[in-house]
Symmetry: D2
Subunit: 357 residues, 4 copies
Amino acid sequence: MSNSIGRIFRLTTFGESHGAAIGGIVEGCPAGVSLDLAEIQLDLDRRKPGQSHLTTQRKESDTVQVLSGVFEDKTTGAPIGFIIPNEDQRSKDYSHIKDTFRPSHADYTFDQKYGHRDYRGGGRSSARETASRVAGGAIARVFLKTLGVSVTAWVERVKDVELPFQHVAYTREQVESNLVRCPDATVAANMQQLIEQARKEGDTLGGAIRCVIEGVSAGWGEPVFGKLHAELAKAMVSINAVKGFEIGSGIAGTKQAGSQQNDAFVQVDGETSTTTNNSGGIQGGISNGQQIHFSVAFKPVATIMKDQQSVDKDGNAVEVKGKGRHDPCVLPRAVAIVEAMAALVLADASLIARTNK
Amino acid sequence: MSNSIGRIFRLTTFGESHGAAIGGIVEGCPAGVSLDLAEIQLDLDRRKPGQSHLTTQRKESDTVQVLSGVFEDKTTGAPIGFIIPNEDQRSKDYSHIKDTFRPSHADYTFDQKYGHRDYRGGGRSSARETASRVAGGAIARVFLKTLGVSVTAWVERVKDVELPFQHVAYTREQVESNLVRCPDATVAANMQQLIEQARKEGDTLGGAIRCVIEGVSAGWGEPVFGKLHAELAKAMVSINAVKGFEIGSGIAGTKQAGSQQNDAFVQVDGETSTTTNNSGGIQGGISNGQQIHFSVAFKPVATIMKDQQSVDKDGNAVEVKGKGRHDPCVLPRAVAIVEAMAALVLADASLIARTNK
Amino acid sequence: MSNSIGRIFRLTTFGESHGAAIGGIVEGCPAGVSLDLAEIQLDLDRRKPGQSHLTTQRKESDTVQVLSGVFEDKTTGAPIGFIIPNEDQRSKDYSHIKDTFRPSHADYTFDQKYGHRDYRGGGRSSARETASRVAGGAIARVFLKTLGVSVTAWVERVKDVELPFQHVAYTREQVESNLVRCPDATVAANMQQLIEQARKEGDTLGGAIRCVIEGVSAGWGEPVFGKLHAELAKAMVSINAVKGFEIGSGIAGTKQAGSQQNDAFVQVDGETSTTTNNSGGIQGGISNGQQIHFSVAFKPVATIMKDQQSVDKDGNAVEVKGKGRHDPCVLPRAVAIVEAMAALVLADASLIARTNK
Amino acid sequence: MSNSIGRIFRLTTFGESHGAAIGGIVEGCPAGVSLDLAEIQLDLDRRKPGQSHLTTQRKESDTVQVLSGVFEDKTTGAPIGFIIPNEDQRSKDYSHIKDTFRPSHADYTFDQKYGHRDYRGGGRSSARETASRVAGGAIARVFLKTLGVSVTAWVERVKDVELPFQHVAYTREQVESNLVRCPDATVAANMQQLIEQARKEGDTLGGAIRCVIEGVSAGWGEPVFGKLHAELAKAMVSINAVKGFEIGSGIAGTKQAGSQQNDAFVQVDGETSTTTNNSGGIQGGISNGQQIHFSVAFKPVATIMKDQQSVDKDGNAVEVKGKGRHDPCVLPRAVAIVEAMAALVLADASLIARTNK
């Protein structure tokens, strides 16, 4: 079931980098939700390659086709099957790595696990798979909108250039106002400079994405193993290249005393609220009605334009040549993926919460 | 299913802080594993309250009783049911919070989610529940030992006093050599001083625990949503008070360039190995045969011995009095919990890996 | 997960015939349900051995202890852990079958599957495990009652003596009015005679139980693989000794033409109803608001008081002696088990139905 | 998860009768299995409409396209995504039932459950969905073949014309030797006559399919809720129009005494075997190495060419006209579906059995 996420609102994906198509099935979306294909496509466009000079130049239109589950533009409760045809496959680009393990890729581990693998473009381990997540997440987002819930992410750090979190949620317009998807123009410019420099050097950069979810009522998420932030952690860490997850005040907050970290309850306009939100909107694994926010750290992508030492299947030392098309920094494209995964987790939590009392 | 973790090797827990007993069921442990009750008890003793002056003085012997699944000291493949009676329950201690929400506890969110809740000691949200995790994890650990896998965790940071990770695995003896469970005597002494200071002030401290897993062969863990480090992330973040998870080089590594982060493959003694281990032993979600290591950050526990502002059920401002027994720093006790959760995830991954080819 | 049933409202059981206790965990029961322990005990008493001369004389009080999930007599939404201590264990009775496979028992298959098994009383394969089902099912039944749903089963056939189904639901009082639990006194007397005869001969008899569920609103159950009657089929066939499952008009109905079988829709008192109910209250896997009814066929239990030919672990021919305590006919006790399993399936379906639109 | 079946080897399907395509995802098929697309197509051809005058004349080529999970004609362990385009959609045929509930179809229950539904051809409730089952099952069958396991089903009864089960497994050639898929020519001729008569009368007939599985080693299937025959029961009863499931000697066997039903163990050629096989190859939910056999009863399909009384959405009495294309008897086509579902259950059980000891 490692190709699925969610218990009731559930996405299952399939597809490799160089097959005919990738795709997935969304189950559990309630019936009667108005689903505009353009909304799904919009999210896919934000993730797709080739969207700017900061990303890989591989060209994929990433056009989604919905095959089921929608009738007269509304969901029917039936599973929503969709495919995204692969277009710009240059399988020959990968013949040189057929028997060679690229450093910090999954070539070696897939080989050990399965024996037989589709080496082209990383096969199932390719980040191309995340397009299916974005399509599924877009459906979740549309459903969440009917509940008044919004999900917004942005690039908060590239390497060590950072936009400190201010407990505000930026608008999508602000996020989309530049190529980096960092809502502060000055910081974004510095980030862009770093990325362009890395591209020039054939190197890659990592960073972090902040995600804010607003409009979640108190009571979503489950105690013990199914805590809402535990589900978010799994969803985020399952994204290619993710190395760290922090909820609320995160690791910085663990350097404070309890008396500093605790979020005092207070009554505001007849609603129970908190004076601070170090908890990130989740207490005991359950949403408390405040803004949910967390940060996801991405390593620099493993494909670099520099030659690297490695071994082949037979254990011989080989040199992996730096060539092909790649992303110098995956963060700007990953914003859509983080949002998609968050939307999937929240949609599921919202449905399970209907069964609690 | 939020009370369960694992697909094949699975733990399901029950129990509240002030009920008759807590307990759980371990399913999927292969038959024929020699199971010595003393090994389970040993782990429980490392987690139990009252073990030193650095922990809460609540007294629980935490004696586990195995009710099924073991015959003639060996597992039978049947589910292993166990209970841990609750002993030192002072329910009256909690009557004052019946209608009051303690800051950064789960009182408010449980109330919103369920309407009716067992407020005594936090009920199901109490960290007492983690004793069942430790019992279940101890069984997983015994099983993993038959595969040559060991799991060792230690306190790597209290507040801002830190033992930098050196890519070695300490022995349990080293970890157990002091009350803090930090294997470096000097650093441990500094940590202890911090904790004693916090206790004196009625305050609490957080920090981080490093966990190292050795002996895992290449090929455990699943692609896409079931990545091994995604499962670890969920397991760790589901522990009470956890705010962050980092795999391998973690967030620090995301500030490096790809050319610095990539782990070059190299042949050592006829085995494919890596020169560095920034990946933390997992690539593409699958173990690569190297040491698996990750760090888990804990916030200071929410129960402090200071008065705090809050609201009650009716929205009235109230003062939560700081009283009762509490842990000034949960890290030393949480070492056993982190190990237990890691063992559960790995045991499950090992069994699923049997089905891959 | 073979020890669990249900997706949201879920029972997980543990325990062997001769361990310290059997028990289970009920997850997903909504909070706020008034739970009277006596109601659970009542169902257990209907299943327990030794209740009359028609059943095994093994004595078990089958006293259930609820350990969690209930506070001030109401469910809290937390998992409900319970145990039922084993009392009348005569382990010596089974030493003779340590290395011998009893015909049509699970001794051989457990041995092949697990290598190491608890042979005493059949261990995990013993029908004693069904006591945990009855306890869990009783909780489901209490929850269903809050929704206006009732579950009633009775013995409709012993060997070839049958009470034809009349599309009425008998009351529990009618069912409990005789030892056989067949609501027609005359038919019950004939059944009782058959059973007493079988007991005298050291033989055993099978038969069938009819179950009727009333008060289910239209819309429970899920399409495709999760059809309501498919879940019922699995639940029923998972009961020890069950050989067949029929929904609605069952196999007899498959000998009719479509024009005879179809249930015409009709409007009655402003409600859409059907003129006949061959569908058994389920169409396309989803309840239609009519009475749900099905039949479950049980083989004669495998333990007979006659000597039988078999082999031992080494393949030597051996004679299995007919001795010990046994049920000449399990049907009267199984009524409570069928009801329990039905209640579990329905409780789960009711909660999932909350997420459909 | 009602669109999925299986825990490790798992099929998830999507698609409606009149959407662009139906399809599914097969997860958990081990890597390295040689997969010939023609084998999948062969099974689809046995299920497809229009294959003879005994079936509906709706024309669908049912051409499967595999989109992922197979590389150089071998499985990679990645999910196998596939689609089957819908071709012969005459949506206008269904406009008359937009607001009308056809007797014993799922129109009413889907309407009640989801509010908004795709009424064309029954939408998700259409038996067209079973084509995805057959495609997924064909993959399972290919995998099982590598383990020496074969699955063969045939029509054993149409209405009351029956081929008594002789505990032999017919070959596929024998089954395919006539249009009815009953391996006895004389009985098949009688069945064919019944079906032709029903077609002429605009009526429909039901019956039963027997399925035999050979080559399963002892130890597959899980105790308690996951019994192998319980999983088979769920899989079979989930097929459209199924009303009953019988394992082994089935309901007839429940009319015998225990001394007649028990299968004596005996040693044959150094292997433990049984003298009879009333158990149907499964004891205590676990395979015993004997032939697995069971019977599945199908009601006559609900679509008849006769006018029927019903109601519409507003509760008005209406007449449902008998028109369109339909199957007078679905049994010959359902043979492939029964085999597919059996193969899926067995493939899953075989993989889980790898984790037992």
